[in-house]
Subunit: 169 residues, 2 copies
């Protein structure tokens, strides 16, 4: 899929077919995530790939917007690794860029995904920390259920002239 | 350019030809940025497009990694608009996703750019606030000098198996 088409047609997909995602695809999606830019090229990220049905099902109450996880064959948790940062505080942006690459790659492969935010909401952070037994220096940023789309969503441009300022505010 | 190729070959470009970037391209880059996902689809972002040579030149001392701005015909500042947030605190991730879309779109058009981080470093935030006279609710996230690349950089996969955890930490 062409880049601009991927960017323009990606939507949050919350309904999935009952069909697994091949392992090679998962690896390509992770490869896309890890190609993201990061402050000082520190690549301060870690990924937890969740395919275990019991774990996935148990996640539906972990987060207020994760009910659809019981239908998804796969979810990927992106975490910041604070021990890897070169410039403190940029891990959120670095991991968000990795997430965006991941969502675009997912879409280009015909898959669908949705970014559910964790950080900086404390109770969500604690819930993910506990479920995955994350060490202190590993900060859960966001989680994406992924699967074969069972819904089609139209897209339209979100371009807004009034958000663009030229040379000054 | 195909999506995975764009993701895999994008690099931070810090040397530019002495040539302007057409306005239509700038608009397409901004369109890509604004197609990013955001928490609650709040789209809590604002953009300052800087093409004024004097302003661009004045920015070289605004940030420790902005010396190259004197060679760039263009720079785009992405800001969070805190008055537009639906879910407080997610604007950083939302704007980072917009930045990543912008960098990919830039690269796919044959342009080069580099993400220079502002938030959360206080003195950088204050310097950008002051230069662009940003209102209190507008938070500068990052700035990207953009131009026609005068350097070629190789890319290699950043995929690391040891960053991938299956079903548990």
């Amino acid at each position: 899929m062409e880049l601009m088409e991927a960017i323009r047609t990606r939507r949050s997909i919350r309904k999935y077919e009952n069909r697994i995602v091949p392992e090679e695809m998962v690896q390509e999606i992770l490869d896309a995530a890890m190609m993201a830019p990061s402050a000082g090229n520190a690549q301060p990220w870690q990924f937890v790939v969740v395919t275990d049905r019991e774990i996935l099902d148990s996640m539906q109450d972990l987060h207020p917007h994760l009910k659809m996880i019981t239908q998804a064959p796969l979810g990927i948790l992106i975490c910041g690794d604070l021990s890897l940062e070169k410039f403190a505080g940029y891990w959120v942006q670095d991991c968000a860029a990795a997430m965006q690459n991941m969502l675009l790659a997912t879409h280009a492969k015909g898959l669908g995904a949705v970014w559910t935010g964790i950080h900086p909401v404390g109770e969500r952070v604690m819930a993910f920390r506990k479920l995955f037994n994350l060490p202190e220096h590993i900060a859960p940023l966001g989680f994406a259920p992924i699967g074969w789309p069972a819904q089609k969503l139209k897209t339209e441009s979100r371009y807004r002239e009034d958000r663009v300022h030229i040379n000054k505010w």
